[in-house]
């Protein structure tokens, strides 16, 4: 009934959910980011179990690796300290989480209802290797790739520009 891959999926999913919950509820930014890394890694496992090894690798390399490192650098640059933690606690106190939680819960309920009631049969078994992805990527999705590269270029220019201006007070 339950193969190892399947078990891995559920375990990884559970870890992802819990770590994400923790990530968004930490008062100290670094803690949050660490939980987020856990979350990303477990999502990578999920990807792997779903038969997408390329994406799983990229998840680890880019999300957990590059992006979060970026976050960490920023946190370091900002020199966040205890004052910020107190501030954070003050912001997070009381019922500030209640409304968003309810809203999100309703949304989630709706989405789940949609998924369950829809014709979403079938299992997640087929493995789609890097080769197929690469063929599709540089075949029909060429334009998308070009656009994505443009976007990234724009982001590079934008980020550079913003940080440059800052350097000149």
């Amino acid at each position: 009934m339950s193969g190892p891959m399947e078990a891995a999926f559920y375990v990884a999913a559970a870890v992802a959910v819990v770590s994400t919950l923790l990530a968004i509820s930490r008062l100290v930014a670094v803690h949050a980011l660490l939980y987020l890394i856990v979350s990303f890694l477990s999502v990578a496992v999920v990807f792997y179990t779903m038969g997408a090894p390329l994406v799983a690798t990229l998840e680890v390399i880019i999300y957990a690796g590059a992006i979060l490192v970026l976050f960490l650098f920023v946190v370091m640059m900002l020199n966040l300290g205890t004052r910020d933690r107190d501030q954070e606690r003050q912001w997070f106190s009381g019922a500030a989480w209640l409304g968003p939680a309810i809203l999100s819960a309703i949304l989630l309920a709706e989405v789940i209802y949609l998924i369950v009631s829809g014709a979403t049969t079938g299992g997640l078994s087929a493995t789609v290797g890097p080769k197929e992805v690469a063929l599709a990527l540089y075949g029909p999705y060429m334009i998308g790739v070009e656009l994505a590269s443009m976007l990234l270029l724009g982001a590079v220019v934008g980020a550079t520009h913003l940080s440059k201006q800052e350097a000149r007070p």
Binding site: G99, P100, L103, S104, I106, L107, E110, Y113, L114
Partner: protein, 621 residues
């Protein structure tokens, strides 16, 4: 000769146009104005001559000038119609106008609106002649409104004083109330009979309606409304006394001799309709009788010379209405003619007196003028006697006796109406001699400033002659009108008195009035002032003086509510509702703007909420 008929109204009209547009020296203005009316008068006399000697076929002559308009079955012409009735009116109007124009050339000489005055006066004469000669009711209506306009303009001629303007406006509006009724009458006539040609109407109406039919009564009453307004009869008489604000020749011409009798003409012209509507005709008689009494009482109490004459005019026109109402048609027209002579003369005399005394209008500040203004005195006396009805001699007595006789004996006559008319004679005699005694006898109060010249005296003398001689043509006059306006006699019951008896009674009553006036004014003035001082007498005096408080009543009943409505509506209530819409939009804008708080998380929440709602809608609807 008859084909010159169109010139009769056209010449004054052309002259009015010239006077209005071109700036001319005074002499030329006077000449042009008088000459145009003189030409009109001469042509109308020539026409009369030819009409009498070689009567056209059917004793009537129609001159079509051009087709006014032709719209789907409605095609009135600009056309003139001459028959004995319109002939009499035309001649009297033209002739009296001529005399009064002549008088005005001197009377108005010092006024800086000389040219404007004569332009208006000529326009009035043209309109009046159009009214009288019109062959259809639409053209008659044109003349009708034209004379109303000129009346307005001339009452407010001295425009610098707003009071005059108000009087003019009042006159125009009050008469226009009647005109509206008249216009509705025209709509009804056209709707029912499909034409507005008077002769066609008179021919078709008896065929279409039986006596006393509802439509006929309605039409007759609607036309009566117009007549009542223009002729200053109850209940629309209030404008005429105020109309005395205009220059005196205007009062003489428009508000005594001609325009105010337009109502009489209208009813006489459409007498067939009244024959079909006995109840309306009876209403005419009752209105006439009531007006003549009410106005007579009011005349007794006035201080202003011209206002006395104004009430007297109302009262005399009331006589004409009485005559029309009882069916004594020719008597009404005859009284119109004699009244035109003597009442014009009275006003002209009053003008001389007023000008002589520095614009003094109060009869209690006049007096002893009889030897200082002899011509004015004698002519005024003759006219006064004619008005009061000095028997056997004066024209007024003839016409009034005729009306009295009609009130007793004509189709709709009754003893009650006869008695009313007789009381009217007493009142007339009383106020006439009260006025004459106060103005010309007794003590001198104000010195004389100006003596009248020839241009003012000649018309007086001519009119004085006519005020006496006019009465003697009664028999041929009646004969002349026979075909157009037959006297309708009562068939059923016997008349309780004879014509001679009626005339004798009138003569005695006249004498009684004369004596009473003499006694109260000259013999025992203290008695009359005591009468006025007595509380009951004072109240009555005030009541009569204010024209039976009708002005007071109308002011509260109509004028103020209308002004009040206009005032509260000033800001446009409807616009307020649009402003409300604008405010609502503004409120919505404010509400929506407050959502643009600039808070990132709020936006995100709204997006999430929207997504939730959207999905919910997709899912569950």
């Amino acid at each position: 000769m008859l084909e010159l008929l169109w010139l009769v109204p056209a010449i004054p009209f052309a002259s009015a146009l010239v006077l209005a547009v071109v700036r001319l020296p005074r002499k030329v203005v006077a000449w042009l104005a008088v000459a145009s009316i003189a030409a009109s008068t001469i042509i109308s006399l020539l026409i009369t001559y030819s009409f009498l000697h070689a009567p056209p076929a059917g004793n009537a002559y129609t001159e079509v000038l051009w087709r006014w308009l032709d719209v789907s079955g409605f095609h009135p012409d600009i056309a003139l119609y001459l028959d004995p009735l319109s002939l009499i009116f035309m001649v009297v109007v033209a002739f009296v106008s001529f005399l009064i124009h002549l008088y005005s050339t001197e009377f108005m000489i010092g006024d800086d609106g000389y040219s404007r005055f004569f332009a208006y006066m000529n326009l009035f004469v043209a309109s009046m002649l159009t009214l009288v000669l019109a062959n259809n009711l639409l053209l008659l209506y044109l003349g009708w409104e034209g004379v109303g306009l000129c009346s307005y303009l001339l009452i407010g001629f001295w425009y610098r004083d707003p009071v005059n303007g108000l009087a003019g406006r009042k006159a125009f509006i009050v008469t226009r109330v009647g005109d509206t009724s008249f216009a509705i009458g025209l709509f009804l006539l056209f709707q029912q009979l499909g034409t507005l040609n008077i002769q066609d109407l008179m021919r078709v109406a008896p065929q279409s309606w039986h006596v006393g039919s509802g439509v006929a009564v309605a039409v007759a009453f609607l036309l009566l409304g117009g007549a009542v307004g223009k002729s200053a009869q109850l209940p629309l008489q209030t404008w005429l006394p105020d109309a005395m604000a205009g220059p005196t020749p205007v009062s003489a011409l428009i508000h005594a001799a001609t325009m105010v009798t337009a109502g009489v003409y209208l009813i006489a012209r459409t007498h067939v309709l009244y024959a079909l509507a006995p109840s309306a005709q009876f209403a005419v008689a009752v209105i006439g009788a009531a007006t003549l009494l009410l106005a007579g009482f009011s005349a007794l109490t006035q201080h202003d010379l011209k206002r006395v004459l104004a009430y007297s005019t109302i009262s005399q026109v009331g006589y004409m209405f009485l005559a029309l109402g009882v069916g004594a048609w020719p008597a009404a027209v005859f009284h119109f003619m004699t009244h035109a002579f003597f009442k014009a003369l009275l006003f002209l005399g009053a003008g001389i007196v007023i000008q002589a005394l520095h614009e003094e209008h109060d009869i209690f500040r006049m007096g002893g003028l009889w030897n200082r203004l002899p011509v004015a005195f004698w002519t005024f006396l003759i006219a006064g006697c004619s008005l009061a009805g000095l028997p056997l001699i004066t024209a007024g007595a003839f016409s009034k006796d005729w009306i009295l006789w009609g009130a007793a004996s004509a189709a709709q006559g009754s003893t009650g109406l006869w008695v009313a008319a007789l009381v009217g004679v007493l009142l007339t005699s009383l106020y006439t001699f009260r006025m004459i005694f106060l103005v010309f006898f007794g003590q001198e109060h104000t010195p004389i400033a100006k003596k009248p010249g020839a241009a003012m005296l000649i018309p007086c003398i001519v009119l004085a002659f006519l005020s006496i001689a006019g009465g003697y043509i009664r028999i041929p006059f009646a004969h002349f009108l026979e075909e157009v306006l037959p006297w309708t006699t009562r068939v059923a019951s016997a008349v309780p008195l004879s014509e001679t008896a009626s005339a004798t009674a009138a003569g005695l009553v006249f004498l009684l009035g004369l004596v009473l006036a003499w006694f109260f004014i000259l013999r025992r003035p203290s008695l009359s002032s005591a009468l006025v001082k007595n509380p009951a007498g004072a109240a009555l005096h005030r009541f009569w003086f204010s024209d039976w408080a009708m002005d007071w009543l109308y002011e509260r009943l109509f004028v103020r509510p209308i002004l009040w409505i206009a005032q509260i509506g000033k800001g446009d209530v409807i616009d307020g509702s649009y402003d409300g819409l604008a405010l609502l939009t503004q409120g919505g804008w404010r509400a929506l703007r407050s959502t643009q708080s600039g808070k990132l998380r709020w936006y995100a929440a709204v997006i999430a909420g929207g997504t939730i709602i959207f999905i919910a809608v997709v899912l569950f609807l």
